[in-house]
């Protein structure tokens, strides 16, 4: 494994299997009364969040704490960043404090890579601009494999604003790497022009795609995209591309509905659909902690025997 996780391109298919398998053993930790192992005791993990994010930040925080690492949360409001400190100076400060890993979320694509120039520890990309969100992709893969028993040959549609979605990019790259069959679905204005080079199919007709799926992965569609004229109205978007109550019946039995959250109920997904048993958003959240434990553990070189030991 690379020292950093900046992009799905940093990991091989074998790495992914190892990450998912390691997560499997960590998921059990989350079911214990005392949800903690000493694997990263004495190590320091910094959560550097330049963008608001509740679930990802808490997920990383819990993951690090369950590994007994010391966790520092560095959010931008009310800190030196709010006072105008640059990414470089913040990075040098964290470096001086001896961070072993920095988890960064930033609205600027490429910031995690830029950060590696200034810190010696591992850098984990927790979402950068419209570039990538590799830990989300890995937890989604984990959830699919957990439910359906495999990744190879799995038929997955990723539906919505693919153009602006770092989740869709990382997930597509990861699924293709694992031999899944991916179709991007959305209005043509929100499908990246280079999508064919990702090794995925593209469709503008969700009704045609749904009956052939194992996984229907819905993306959040921001209302702002209407203002930018990517589609004429939220109403029309929901009618053509939303996972509505009327449409969900097209999905084969045993298929799953996924969403990275936060959901826009009534836009990309109907409220009732989001609450169906085949919609696994809560499992995604639970698995997210195990995946992030696995990644921190593997990147920081924790020792395997510590996993089974109780704290």
């Amino acid at each position: 494994m690379n020292k950093h996780l900046l992009s799905i391109h940093d990991v091989t298919a074998e790495d992914i299997v190892r990450i998912l398998d390691t997560a499997e053993s960590f998921r059990e930790v989350g079911t214990r009364v005392i949800k903690k192992v000493p694997a990263l005791r004495g190590r320091t993990v910094v959560n550097l969040f330049y963008e608001n994010s509740t679930r990802t930040r808490i997920s990383f925080e819990l993951a690090a704490k369950r590994l007994s690492a010391d966790v520092i949360n560095f959010t931008t409001s009310g800190t030196s960043v709010a006072k105008g400190e640059s990414l470089k100076d913040t990075a040098l400060t964290l470096q001086a404090m001896g961070a072993d890993a920095v988890v960064i979320r930033h609205s600027s694509s490429g910031s995690p890579l830029t950060l590696t120039k200034w810190v010696r520890g591992s850098v984990l990309n927790a979402g950068d601009g419209t570039h990538e969100h590799p830990t989300q992709a890995l937890l989604d893969l984990y959830t699919m494999r957990d439910r359906l028993g495999r990744l190879e040959g799995l038929r997955v549609a990723i539906v919505g604003d693919v153009l602006h979605s770092r989740v869709a990019r990382s997930l597509s790259f990861a699924l293709v790497k694992m031999g899944a069959d991916v179709t991007l679905v959305g209005p043509p204005t929100l499908i990246p022009p280079d999508a064919p080079s990702w090794g995925v199919a593209v469709s503008y007709d969700i009704d045609e795609v749904l009956p052939k799926l194992d996984v229907c992965y819905m993306l959040r569609v921001q209302r702002e995209r209407q203002r930018q004229q990517y589609f004429p109205s939220v109403r029309e978007y929901a009618r053509l591309f939303g996972l509505t109550r009327g449409r969900v019946g097209l999905l084969p039995e045993g298929s799953m509905i996924m969403h990275p959250g936060p959901m826009n109920r009534g836009v990309e997904i109907d409220s009732d659909v989001a609450d169906l048993p085949q919609a696994v958003m809560e499992e995604q959240v639970t698995n997210g902690i195990a995946i992030r434990m696995s990644l921190l553990y593997l990147l920081l070189g924790g020792r395997a025997e510590e996993v089974s030991a109780d704290a």
């Binding site: 640059s86 930033h106 694509s109 490429g110 830029t114 570039h131 990538e132 990019r169 280079d194």
Partner: protein
């Protein structure tokens, strides 16, 4: 003939005078004199193995003064120019305040005269405050000495504004309107060339068409007005093809390319290195090769550096927060010699034409660009076409945001003679 300076044994390359031969050049009293008149006490500099040419002329510079003296001043920019072999530069008007009136033009001229390191030919803004809408007092700026107008940084808003500007300046002799060709609505938020690499990096792109649409629009308006139009820093294959056709149609259109667009491509951005973030963006190898071909066949008339100094702390940030631009005065000649002359794409003569003779004509710098003849002002550069050097700080420029940083160039300025004075000797600024 006190102060006589005899440059001996150089290969004299002078496209304006139609010369390419080994000769001695005598400089005295600020002028070139017949070499045979050299007094016995003349200071002699052996230039054998070196090339002597008319001083370079940069038709596209950002000196940042007034307003952003932390990035560059007229003096530091002129020193960088002299070290790069330039004896004349044209600073763009996007200063603070904007050079949209005679007072700012006079200020820049005064600062240039005080620095005394090269001639400064300020470019005036086409519109007030570069708002793209309301014409600035062009006549008053022409009286102050301006020969080129531009809203560089953006295009004028509408074809109508351009029509009026191109038509209005016909009242003055040899005045040119220079356009930065970019359609805001297509280029909006773009960080780099839109294509394979922007998609992979997750950065918003500027498609070629954001430039080509405005090139096509501006050429149409030049046709309508029969005006004198100059197109700045072309970056796409489509743009040069449009210019090629416009020239074939006999329109009075000229075009510029920068050294960085002639050398680098969007593939250089894959590590989010902000040194390569420029505007217009570096495009594909195909585009770069088309610009090179256009420089070879004369579609591109001049090389302009678009020297754009930025403070370190402005560039050492997240990619989308960095301002676009690279410095270029100290590397332009080396870049052209290394990447165009050495591979045999153009001759040294053509290099001097696009770096000196043609830009001098463009900006109306009649005392620059050659010919190197007795009686002419002595604005000269002497360079070693074979000297290898690695581009690294310190620079004479106040800034160090160079796309060429760390690269090896072959060919470097040895002496620069400005108005008869040796302002750079043995590669070092004399003041």
């Amino acid at each position: 003939m006190r102060d006589a300076l005899l440059l001996t044994g150089a290969r004299v390359v002078d496209p304006a005078g139609g010369r390419d031969e080994v000769a001695d050049v005598l400089v005295s009293g600020g002028l070139i004199r017949p070499a045979e008149d050299a007094p016995t006490g003349a200071m002699r500099i052996d230039c054998s193995g070196l090339v002597l040419a008319p001083g370079l002329v940069d038709p596209h510079t950002h000196l940042r003064e007034p307003g952003r003296e932390d990035k560059e001043t007229v003096e530091t920019g002129c020193r960088a120019a002299a070290l790069g072999g330039f004896t004349a530069v044209s600073p763009m008007p996007n200063t603070d305040p904007v050079a949209d009136n005679a007072a700012v033009i006079h200020e820049v001229l005064d600062l240039g005269a005080r620095a005394g390191l090269c001639d400064v030919f300020p470019v005036g803004a086409i519109t007030r405050g570069q708002d793209g809408e309301s014409m600035a007092e062009l006549g008053e700026m022409v009286e102050a000495g301006v020969r080129m107008f531009s809203d560089d940084g953006k295009a004028v808003s509408t074809p109508r504004v351009l029509r009026n500007a191109l038509t209005y300046v016909k009242a003055f002799d040899d005045v040119v309107i220079a356009e930065h060709c970019e359609d805001d609505s297509l280029a909006a938020d773009g960080q780099m060339h839109e294509g394979e690499h922007s998609y992979a990096l997750g950065l918003a792109g500027k498609p070629r068409e954001s430039e080509e649409i405005v090139v096509a629009r501006d050429i149409a308006v030049a046709r309508l007005t029969a005006g004198r139009l100059h197109l700045l820093h072309l970056s796409s294959a489509g743009s040069v093809e449009l210019v090629r056709r416009a020239k074939a149609d006999g329109l009075r259109v000229t075009a510029e390319a920068t050294p960085h667009h002639l050398v680098f491509t969007d593939a250089d951005l894959v590590t989010y290195d902000t040194s390569f973030k420029v505007n217009p963006p570096l495009r594909t190898a195909e585009d770069r090769d088309a610009i090179r071909a256009a420089l070879v066949d004369g579609t591109i008339d001049v090389v302009g550096t678009d020297h754009a100094p930025h403070a370190v702390e402005e560039k050492e940030v997240e990619f989308d927060q960095a301002p676009p631009g690279t410095i270029g005065l100290e590397t332009a000649l080396g870049a052209i010699l290394t990447h165009l002359v050495r591979p045999g794409l153009i001759s040294i003569g053509r290099a001097i034409e696009v770096l000196s003779t043609a830009p001098a004509r463009l900006i109306g710098a009649s005392e620059h660009g050659g010919p190197i003849e007795p009686g002419r002002p002595a604005n000269l550069v002497v360079f070693d076409p074979d000297l290898e050097w690695v581009v690294e700080p310190p620079f004479a420029s106040k800034s160090r945001n160079s796309a060429f940083l760390g690269t090896t160039l072959r060919g470097r300025v040895v002496h620069t003679v400005y108005r008869g004075e040796l302002v750079v000797a043995d590669g070092k600024a004399q003041r």
